[in-house]
């Protein structure tokens, strides 16, 4: 019998989308000074979801001033235990409204509902709960007896995990006593705007959280605003470098979480079936739109054939399609621009002589789609082994000895994450010591937890988010 799964779509009715959204400044939604705007589309259908206001420099200025006032008058002086109450309240509302947030995230971002429901939203709530717990315990965080907040934090986040990145930024900032102005990505602003409504619902004091929507110019105006004490950015290395240059010489504290080209290293004694799951999860999770994606598979020669065969068999089972279908494994590519970049780099991979393979896979006609793809016969010199593709494209390389694996894994300007697959504990420790990556996963991949610090080496950025370490970026230490 062929077991076809009937469509199992999650209902959209749980989301109440407005036709247009203003900027969230000083506790309320306001129109931008110059009336500009743009559209947010559903990448799975190219349908326009809502009109979004575009913040100009006057709007950014207004938001920063609101944040400054809130910092000086309300949030800064407020005892930690009271800040914690607000954060706990926000965390609970996120849990209560998680279905709504998950559906909206999948609509705006294109990620499968299985992931927004089972990964993104639980982590978002967990982050707020975790940092709520720190708010009244900062003297015990290891940064001195009375660590002080910085003031106003300018935060710019990417489109791959819109709400989760918001949580990574806002939760520690608020727990430490800062106020924030946050700019979500222009292709995925909707959950941030729903979060603004949650701030209202939680009766968070006005001006503590401000959300300005817009593209690069808005982000630049925010980051370069002189009234900002801290800049936190997650996104591309290129933009990260520009931000580092623009804040150089100012007193602004900066944390950057940038690109990656992680090696997922499979040894011959690895638990093969779980390693294959880890490879799939490493590169096809969230359509590969993950900065710590395991985009380079390094597999030991002696098992390369076996691992690749299992991987291909497993890839043929991936269900690509409607992000709101509960059985979808791979959703839509977030934007036409990103799809074009994935296509360009994949074409370069073929042109440079690597062998391309995708399982037979029917893609919807409308929307932005890319079939899960692997390249074999890749060398370190190929562009697809060096540049971050940020899509469902895996480059497969082989190695013979552990030393060669380390050398290849480290031979990249990035250093965000790495994975090791082996049954041998001593080898895991030996490898982890030598890998220059901020996160090293052993016999798993893409595992996140609010208690665990996350961040990169080299061009993957600096500073850590999550855990006790994540507080440091928001304290004057």
């Amino acid at each position: 019998m062929i077991f076809e799964y009937a469509p199992a779509p999650e209902s959209r009715s749980v989301v109440d989308l407005k036709p247009s959204y203003g900027l969230f400044v000083d506790g309320e939604f306001v129109d931008p000074a110059d009336g500009g705007g743009f559209k947010s589309v559903n990448p799975a259908s190219e349908e326009v979801l809502a009109e979004i206001a575009e913040a100009g420099s006057a709007d950014v200025d207004r938001a920063v001033r609101a944040a400054r006032t809130a910092y000086e008058k309300v949030w800064g002086p407020m005892p930690g235990r009271d800040r914690a109450k607000y954060l706990f309240r926000i965390a609970r509302i996120i849990q209560e409204r998680s279905r709504e947030l998950a559906v909206l995230e999948s609509l705006d971002n294109g990620k499968p509902i299985r992931e927004s429901r089972d990964v993104d939203l639980p982590l978002v709530a967990a982050h707020f709960f975790y940092y709520a717990g720190w708010a009244d315990k900062l003297p015990y965080a290891g940064f001195g007896p009375n660590p002080r907040p910085l003031g106003v934090a300018a935060q710019v986040i990417p489109w791959n995990f819109p709400l989760l990145m918001l949580a990574w930024k806002i939760a520690p900032a608020l727990a430490a006593g800062n106020t924030v102005v946050l700019k979500p990505a222009e292709t995925t602003p909707l959950t941030a705007l729903l979060f603004a409504e949650i701030c209202q619902q939680a009766e968070l004091p006005a001006g503590v959280v401000n959300i300005v929507t817009g593209a690069g110019d808005t982000g630049r105006a925010l980051v370069e605003h002189p009234g900002v004490d801290k800049v936190a950015f997650t996104g591309s290395t290129e933009v990260g470098k520009a931000i580092a240059r623009s804040v150089a010489g100012t007193g602004k504290k900066v944390t950057l979480e940038l690109g990656g080209k992680a090696a997922n290293i499979v040894f011959d004694d690895a638990p093969v079936d779980q390693a294959v799951e880890g490879i799939v999860n490493g590169i096809f999770f969230n359509q590969g739109h993950v900065c710590c994606a395991g985009s380079r598979l390094l597999v030991q020669e002696s098992v390369a054939e076996q691992v690749l065969e299992s991987l291909k068999r497993r890839m043929a089972l991936l269900r690509v399609g409607d992000p709101l279908d509960k059985n979808t494994d791979i959703g839509a590519i977030n934007s036409a621009a990103q799809l074009a970049r994935i296509r360009e780099l994949s074409a370069a991979g073929e042109a440079e002589g690597a062998e391309r393979w995708s399982p037979p896979c029917e893609l919807p006609e409308r929307g932005f789609w890319f079939a899960p793809t692997i390249f074999t016969g890749v060398t370190q010199a190929h562009r697809i082994a060096r540049e971050e593709i940020f899509g469902p494209v895996l480059s497969v390389l082989t190695f013979r000895t552990p030393a060669e694996a380390v050398e290849k894994a480290n031979n990249t300007p990035y250093g965000l994450s790495a994975g090791i697959w082996t049954d041998k504990g001593s080898r895991i420790l030996w490898m982890a010591d030598r890998l220059r990556a901020g996160v090293v996963w052993a016999n798993t991949f893409n595992k996140f937890d609010p208690t665990s610090p996350f961040g990169g080496y080299k061009e993957s950025g600096y500073g850590r988010e999550g855990g006790r370490h994540g507080l440091e970026g928001y304290l004057g230490v």
Binding site: Y5, D273, Q306, N327
Partner: protein
């Protein structure tokens, strides 16, 4: 052809290598311990992930009918009586008397002493023109389609001399069983005496004659997934036609991760040898939702070749009534109470 760990030989010589394995304790041990390990966290995560598949409407209807056809309707109680097993056999043939389109189950599974009474009912029905199987024509009814399984080899503990176990097996087959569910010697397995376990399975297989042999690993006593994988391979190498999780008589019976590891084993075994072996989770599968999770796992681990009662079975008793209730709900739109389905 999938390459096995530690073997660089070609497919053909790999086959002959495998048949030689049982002759030497060392070769058997080296082979079983050379199988790729199972990472517990990863296996459980994968099983849980497959459990989130959402099977609705037409897919659910087909899955329920398939699950009914895969049920080994089981009673293994000291209190079993001829009357009870006759009733069970009648139910196996016609699970829902009110609906002739409802398919029959895969088999009836009883103790050897009860086999003759079941055989009477199943054989008696052969010529009686009972309604044919599922609406999709997947389950043509006919003589002997409902198999007669019996647990043998001193079930459930297996703690008896080999001769007794073999006599038990022969008696069950002679009484009419065409499937034998044996238990492996877990003591010998856990002590590393793989050859002993192997030889027992080989001997039991011989005693079965034409009857199919299901080898119960009793995974609840094997402690690790690595052991489950090794025991699966051992049972297949020794000639088992099916590998089965549990007797249902120890606290931990079938689980999704254990079944996942066993499915991976039969998949790899077929790739290595060309021989297909069936899988039977047994014990603790009580409702339709659980059964569908197993079918999804079969579908996405070994594929459609195993989505057939010849290759996948559920050892269960209360599962059938829940399947019937869900089936009725799908066809009529309303839930009926448990009183509308026969108790067995």
């Amino acid at each position: 052809m999938r390459r096995l760990p530690g073997m660089t030989a070609t497919a053909t010589s790999a086959r002959s290598d495998l048949s030689e394995l049982g002759r030497s304790e060392t070769a058997l041990r080296n082979f079983l311990h050379g199988l790729p390990g199972v990472d517990q966290v990863g296996a459980e995560q994968r099983a849980a992930q497959l459990g989130t598949r959402s099977i609705k409407t037409t897919a659910k209807a087909r899955a329920i009918d398939l699950a009914i056809r895969m049920v080994d309707l089981t009673t293994l109680e000291g209190a079993d009586t001829p009357g009870k097993v006759r009733a069970l056999a009648a139910k196996a043939l016609r699970p829902d008397p009110a609906d002739p389109s409802c398919p029959h189950v895969g088999a009836v599974c009883v103790y050897p002493a009860m086999v003759p009474y079941v055989a009477e009912v199943l054989r008696g029905s052969a010529g009686s023109g009972r309604p044919s199987g599922g609406p999709d024509g997947n389950a043509p009814a006919g003589p002997g389609v409902v198999h007669l399984a019996s647990v043998a080899t001193a079930f459930p503990s297996g703690q008896a001399p080999l001769e007794v176990k073999l006599a038990d097996t022969r008696a069950a087959v002679a009484a009419g069983a065409d499937e034998i569910d044996m238990v492996i010697n877990r003591g010998a397995f856990l002590a590393g005496r793989y050859r002993e376990v192997y030889d027992e399975i080989v001997a039991t297989k011989q005693a079965c004659g034409d009857a199919h042999l299901k080898v119960i690993l009793e995974t609840g006593e094997l402690a690790t997934y690595d052991n489950v994988r090794r025991a699966s391979w051992l049972a297949m190498l020794a000639g088992g036609d099916f590998i089965k999780t549990s007797t249902g008589k120890v606290p931990v019976a079938a689980t999704l991760p254990v079944t996942l590891v066993m499915l991976e084993a039969v998949r790899d075994f077929r790739a290595a040898t060309g021989r297909q072996v069936g899988v039977k989770p047994a014990g603790g599968i009580k409702n339709t939702k659980d059964a569908i999770k197993y079918l999804v796992m079969v579908n996405e681990t070994v594929g459609p070749d195993w989505l057939d009662p010849d290759w996948f079975r559920f050892g269960a008793s209360s599962l059938l009534n829940d399947l019937l209730m869900q089936r009725t709900k799908l066809t009529t739109g309303v839930y009926s109470g448990p009183d509308y389905f026969t108790l067995d």
